[in-house]
Amino acid sequence: MADISNNFAGIKSPNPFWLASAPPTDKAYNVERAFEAGWGGVVWKTLGEEGPPIVNVNGPRYGAIWGADRRLLGLNNIELITDRDLYINLREIKEVKKRWPDRAVIVSIMVPCEEAAWKAILPLVDETEADGIELNFGCPHGMSERGMGAAVGQVPEYIEMVTRWCKANTRMPVIVKLTPNITDVRYPARAAKAGGADAVSLINTISSIVSVDLDSFSPQPSIDGKGSHGGYCGPAVKPIALNMVADIARDAETAGLPISGIGGITTWRDAAEFLALGAGNVQVCTAAMTYGFKIVEEMISGLENWMDEKGHKTLDDVIGRATPNVTDWQYLNLNYVTKAKIDQESCIKCGRCHIVCEDTSHQAITSMLDGERHFEVIDEECVGCNLCVNVCPVENCITMEQLSPGTIDKRTGEKVRDKYGNWTEHPNNPSVVAAE
């Protein structure tokens, strides 16, 4: 059986599945239930500085988008950091860590951007014997208006400065949680590294308005007829998160910096994809908030079985394996030629491949043959775009087949070339001409 035990920036846990800092990790009751269910670690919901507790809205905090069968695809929230007393949280963290020594307990923190504030809270967290801290530089709503959360995370200089303060004032590994609400995630990641961060985690939620009530014309979740942007998460954000994880993983300046992957992870497969792109472990929230803690059983068993099947013995055999395969467009092999192929046996003749190709693409799929519904790729027209594969409701019915070198591409009439060739050397590239 594959070993999925995890060592993330020196923090050990029995598996790479942590619960992200969020409502599921706000108090001992939830966290105990999570550990009983099998989660490898938790990032405790963000603590703020000592003082009167945070005030949340008293109306709805969440909004969602669904598939037509009400499968939750994206969740948006306007909840703030913990609204419980700092000392109750600290006491519970200490108790939980003591009872669950093999699990990772990380404490998320967000205090004002002043060294004194960080200096004040860090010893208190140290004392809980938690395994690490995560700096919440990501929260896009409410706290950012007060100069915290994403307001810090959007300014690399602040990230570096606060990270440095933390490193100087705690024994614990420091994980910097990054906001996706920026233009290039490599800059905040580099800043975290420069400040001495032991790791980064990403993505935090994306600024969003999830929907508008068309009766009241209020954004949702609606608070007395008004709405405010919230943080978007869940399966819908996974592609954005994967891209940002890969950006950091393959950036020479942050090479080797551990990454905790977050964003829409719902199944073991999602988790494996994050690991492959360079995440050292993953954090989950929306999936747990949709289905409860039990889903971790499927995640553990699915990851183990896949690793066994593929012969991966430890997580290190998986982590970063896809990173070198992420490249820039200009280096993609233009001599790699594919055509769609429709398996007539599994085709159910819905005709969607035909109509999307006909209406919106390259007119490369038939709809009729001898008066019968028949869907077949016209090689002379097919550019291999993959749209038909994406809209086909039957898995593996349409596949993209590579034309082997030497065969004629019926669309161009040219022989498929044997060697790798990319845009940088293509005759149509003006910069190639300029260089001559």
């Binding site: 159910i348 819905c350 969607r352 709809s367 519904r373």
Partner: protein
Amino acid sequence: MAGSALSKKLQDGIAAGRINAKTAADNFGDIHPPLGDHEALVASDRCYFCHDAPCVTACPTSIDIPMFIREIATGNTMGAAETIMEQNILGGMCARVCPTETLCEQVCVRETAEGKPVKIGLLQRYATDQAMQTGKQFFERGAESSKHVAIVGAGPAGLACAHRLSMHGHKVTIYEARKKPGGLNEFGIAAYKTVDDFAQHEVDYVTAIGGIDIQYGKKLGKQISLAKLRASHDAVFLGMGLTGVNALGLKGNEPEGVVDAVDFIASLRQARNKTRIPVGRRIVVIGGGMTAIDAAVQAKLLGAEEVTICYRRGQENMNASDYEQELATSKGVTIRHWLQPKKLKAKAGKLSGIELEYTELKGGKLLGTGAKTTLVADQIFRAIGQSYEDASDGALELNWGRIKTSEDGATSLNDVWAGGDCSDSGDDLTVTAVAQGRDSAEAINAALSAQSA
């Protein structure tokens, strides 16, 4: 079971009251309860929005099914109802009585993929019910044309024709032989398929467009004649269905207890109190179509102890769909094949049984084998089809015993159109009758417009 109830149930002969009121209510309730909002959303999500969808091709009225389902899925139920009714103004009834398992749902790609089609019929009912419950009308009567069209029969074909003619501004008078409109929708369909007087509500909904007058008790060949209708109207549409019932063709007089299945079905539909409809203890139904099934199932639901359908050919030849056959057997009806009626047996003038002969196919011909069997029966339903009775004094050319029509319903007379079961292109389906009524209306409108141009 109380002794008296049991004795009622086991009483020989044809008797009412074999079931009590509660059982009647349970047995004759809606066979397919309507979808709730959530069920409709989940069901609509399964539609793939196919291109040139097979379900549309399979629908005799060519309803844009993927579009109306998408409209349901997006919360636009009125849009869905309009999409349906643009093609089929009796979409509500068709949603209830169409054999969807042999039409749209049979060719649904999800039937191909998983053996589970999208619930097209129930979704259609969901949309049309909502529109009809709110009284929402999607179509307006056209500007008055000063043309007057006679329609014979207020059944599905006649109603669809009338509605479309009114959309074009023509004045319509429907001549109906019975005292109520609806045709087979009202008289010919099993009670559990269309509950709560739906057929009458639908007639009201269809005629609400205006310009449609229905005159009752006017039977072609009796109170009215084709010649007079032609003389007093600009065009005539014939949609009176089939008025004759095929006989069993047995020698001798029929004893008491042999009845037409269509009459039994009609009396059940019209009965407020179903327990008052008399039914035999042991029943044999002769036939293999929907009428045989509707009669057999309802006889069982009325408390008959044994109901046996005898069909002279094999299971694969039955006109009733597999679904209908399964429904019958699930209600306790026995279906037997390769048996044809030979002789009725009677005791003291009352039916006591039927002798049947085993049949076989020889060289493509159905032949009696000489081998026989006898079933005890105190009631026999004839369900071997209905026939066209000419009421035009021979003025109309016939084809296979029905009115000869071209694709748009035109008959051999240039001012007479026909559709539904009385026409040679009918297939005994409500939905086909609707399509033919609608298309004939378009043809009539084109002809009348050409006249005035």
